[in-house]
Structure formats: structure tokens, C-alpha cells
């Protein structure tokens, strides 16, 4: 329960094992809902909540579940959480619910949720598991935000459009028009645009990693020589 432990979990979830651009899990919602920042972040946060809660629940009950019923029980827990969130969104964030539509129930089948539950929550205590789920979810949300932002700017020339769906009509003033009089680059909004942009994001991350690696490699001998 040390600070270092939580820091490692956070770093792992948000950057090192990022679900969106490293593990490439749950591609279907990532590609489908990342047409705008608001859509992406909304689904990302919904997934984060599910992941944190499912992590905690599974960690709590892991001793009670026999091995052969492990996966059905985990899925059951995730499905219950997702359905609960779906009801709540339907009731309180109806317009956003309409936009995200099918992708909310699809969180159940988002393999990243089950993957983390299997890989982490089934072996760790509840607080760590909840934190891991949250970190992973935030990593996913971050990717969805960047992806959605890029696609929105390229496709529509705006940012945060549709924020009124989440925060109410008064938030409409938050919408930023990045490129006025923009023709719109439709490809960015369409599924191929999602693939291409995600590919560029992955490339960008790999490039960053390589750069830090080569930098470290360059520094090390100097240190050892000194």
C-alpha cells in the first residue's frame, strides 16, 4: 500500500500498458466513439467507473469463486455494473446516452475490463485493484480524448462540440471553433480516419519510447565512465 506501489500502478495504467495504444484492447469502442472529444471522454469515463468498480468487487470476492466459475462470475459482475451505469445514464444523461447508445452495453465485452480483472484484480487486494482499474480507465480516456480531439479538429474544425449533451445546454458556450470556415475533412470522422489517427498515435508513442531509450543508452556509459 505504499506510495511507490500506487505510482507504479498509475504509470503502468496510463502510459506503459496503455490499453488504447499499447495493449490495443477494446478497439471497437475506441474507434467507433472517438469522433469527438465529448463522446470519447464520456465513454472513457464510463469505462473507467466500470473498471474501478469491477476491479474492487472482484478483488473482494476473489477468494469465494472456484476457479472454473471464475470467468462467468467476473463477466456477471461487469455486466451488472455496466447495466447499472446504463440505467443511470439513461435516466440522468439521456442525450449523451442516445449518442453513445450501443457502446455503453458494449463495455461488458470490452476485453480490457475482463483483462484487467483477470490479470490484476484476481491477484491483488481491493484498493490496488480499484486503483488499477481507474488508472487503466484513465489511460483509455486519455487516448479517447486525444483521438477524439484530433478527429474532431480534422473533421469538423471544432473542439468539445456536443458538450451540452453531457453538461446541459448552458455548456454550449464551451464549444471551441478551432478552424473557422472549415470545409471539413470527412475521412477523419469516418472509421478509416479513426484507424489512421490511432496508428499515428501509436507511432508517436513508440517514437517517444525509442527516444527516451536511446537517450538513456547515451547517458549511461558517461555515468559509468565517470
Amino acid at each position: 500500500m505504499s506510495y511507490q506501489e500506487f505510482r507504479d500502478i498509475f504509470y503502468n495504467g496510463v502510459w506503459k500498458q496503455n490499453t488504447g495504444i499499447v495493449q490495443l484492447l477494446g478497439m471497437c469502442p475506441i474507434l467507433a466513439v472517438s469522433t469527438s472529444v465529448v463522446n470519447g471522454v464520456s465513454l472513457g469515463l464510463a469505462t473507467t467507473i466500470v473498471m474501478a468498480l469491477s476491479g474492487a468487487s472482484v478483488a473482494l470476492i476473489r477468494q469465494l469463486v472456484p476457479n472454473e466459475a471464475r470467468i462467468p462470475v467476473f463477466i456477471l459482475i461487469i455486466a451488472v455494473l455496466v447495466t447499472a451505469i446504463q440505467y443511470l445514464m439513461n435516466a440522468y444523461l439521456y442525450s449523451l446516452y442516445v449518442v453513445l447508445g450501443i457502446f455503453i452495453p458494449l463495455i461488458v465485452t470490452n476485453c480490457i475490463v475482463l483483462a484487467r480483472v483477470e490479470a490484476f484484480a484476481a491477484k491483488n487486494p481491493a484498493s490496488q485493484s480499484a486503483f488499477d482499474g481507474m488508472a487503466m480507465g484513465l489511460g483509455l480516456t486519455a487516448v479517447l480524448a486525444v483521438l477524439g480531439g484530433l478527429r474532431e479538429i480534422m473533421g469538423h474544425g471544432t473542439l468539445l462540440s456536443g458538450i451540452d449533451l453531457a453538461l446541459g445546454p448552458s455548456a454550449k458556450s464551451l464549444v471551441i471553433t478551432v478552424l473557422p470556415d472549415y470545409h471539413g475533412f470527412l475521412l477523419a470522422i469516418l472509421p478509416p480516419g479513426a484507424f489512421i489517427t490511432l496508428g499515428c498515435l501509436i507511432a508517436g508513442k513508440n517514437w517517444l519510447n525509442q527516444r527516451t531509450e536511446s537517450r538513456q543508452a547515451r547517458i549511461e556509459p558517461v555515468i559509468s565512465a565517470a
Binding site: I61, L64, V65, P66, E68, A69, P72, V73, L76, I77, A79, V80, T83, A84, Y87, L88, N90, A91, Y92, Y94, S95, V98, G184, L186, I189, L190
Partner: protein
């Protein structure tokens, strides 16, 4: 061996069902807590769409309740039963909202809501869903362009049959260069809906059409 197998099966079954029952109970509880609110949200959404083409000043009745079932009609292009919403002001009929389908969009059907005042004038038209080429035919959507507002206030009295066409075909309606099929379909469908209204006007506001 057989014993352990049966035992393992029983244990797993009990475990799984315990979780299932707990989960189901939890969900049932949440559902009970939220379903009223969900129904309200659904209604509000419908109302929101209708209210876009139906100014609040024009009615004081509960239009969600004051509905009428419409049977398939070639003039409306609907293939199944649809609902017409009737707006009344001080008990007098003011506007009817019809659901119409333009079957000949560039890539499939275009679903619309058409609000017609009792005098035959269009109060407003909105496209509910369509599959037109993005960026090309989708300017019929209010989210993309104001083109659809061009119908506001038009009626068969104002424009004769020849005028209910896009300008390229000699009519009065604008269109965006390069994409004429979509507006053609929409104009045609609106025109037909007005014709339908003219035929069934009284029935629409009264009991119903058989």
C-alpha cells in the same frame, strides 16, 4: 471420480447462481429506482424534436398524448403505422406533426417529421434519419445546414405543383451543386405530405382516418 464430478458441478452451480441472484436483485433495484425517470427522458427527447418545428406558442395541449395512428399511405411513404401528433391552442386545432418518408434518397430512405399548420402552411420540416453521402447530401440535416428551414411557411397555395421542385429542374427550391438527388427526394416528399394533409385535414384533427 463420478462423485467428485457431481460435487464439483454442484459447487460451481451454487456459486454461480448465488452471484447471479445477487446481481439480478441489484439490477432490479436500480431499475425500479430509475425507470420512471428514464420514461420521462424519452418523452422529453421526443418533445424536444417536435418542439423544434412546433413553436411553443402554437399549442397548450399535451401533444405526446394527443396522437393519432396513421395507416400506410403512398403520399406519406410510410410502410407501417406511424403516429401523428396534434397541437391545439385553446382547444382549437393548430398544427399536426406527420412522420413522412422520402423513399428515393441517394442512398436509401430519408425519415422526416413535417409540421403543418391547420391552414396548410408548413410550420417546419426536420430530417430524423438518413443515409445520404456525408458531406454531399447531408445538408438536409439541420445540424449541417439551414437548408431545411427553407420549407418554413411554404404551402401548396403559395407554390403551384411546378414550383415544388429544385431550381435545377425548374422549381423554386435551392440545392447544393453536385447533390441534387437528395433535395429532390426531400422536396417531393414534403410536397406529397402537404397533399396528404389537404386530403385528410379534417380527419387528422378530429377522430382519425380509417
Amino acid at each position: 471420480m463420478r462423485r467428485t464430478m457431481a460435487k464439483a458441478a454442484l459447487m460451481t452451480a451454487l456459486n454461480l447462481s448465488a452471484f447471479a441472484l445477487f446481481g439480478t436483485a441489484l439490477l432490479a433495484f436500480i431499475y425500479n429506482q430509475t425507470h420512471e425517470r428514464i420514461e420521462k427522458s424519452v418523452e422529453a427527447e421526443k418533445l424536444r424534436l417536435i418542439s423544434q418545428i412546433l413553436p411553443h406558442s402554437l399549442y397548450d395541449n399535451d401533444i405526446i398524448k394527443d396522437t393519432l395512428e396513421i395507416l400506410p399511405d403512398p403520399l406519406l411513404g410510410n410502410e407501417g403505422k406511424t403516429t401523428a401528433y396534434r397541437a391545439r391552442l385553446d382547444g382549437k386545432p393548430s398544427v399536426v406533426v406527420l412522420e413522412a418518408v422520402a423513399p428515393d434518397g441517394y442512398s436509401g430512405k430519408i425519415f422526416m417529421l413535417i409540421a403543418i399548420r391547420e391552414n396548410g402552411e408548413l410550420a417546419g420540416v426536420r430530417v430524423v434519419s438518413h443515409k445520404e453521402t456525408p458531406g454531399l447530401g447531408d445538408y438536409i440535416d439541420i445540424a449541417k445546414s439551414d437548408w431545411i428551414r427553407g420549407f418554413d411557411g411554404k404551402s401548396t397555395a403559395q407554390y403551384n405543383d411546378q414550383d415544388w421542385k429544385v431550381k435545377k429542374d425548374g422549381g423554386k427550391f435551392d440545392y447544393m451543386a453536385g447533390a441534387t438527388i437528395t433535395p429532390r427526394a426531400v422536396v417531393k416528399a414534403v410536397h406529397k405530405a402537404l397533399q396528404y394533409f389537404a386530403l385528410h385535414r379534417d380527419a387528422l384533427f378530429a377522430g382519425g382516418i380509417r
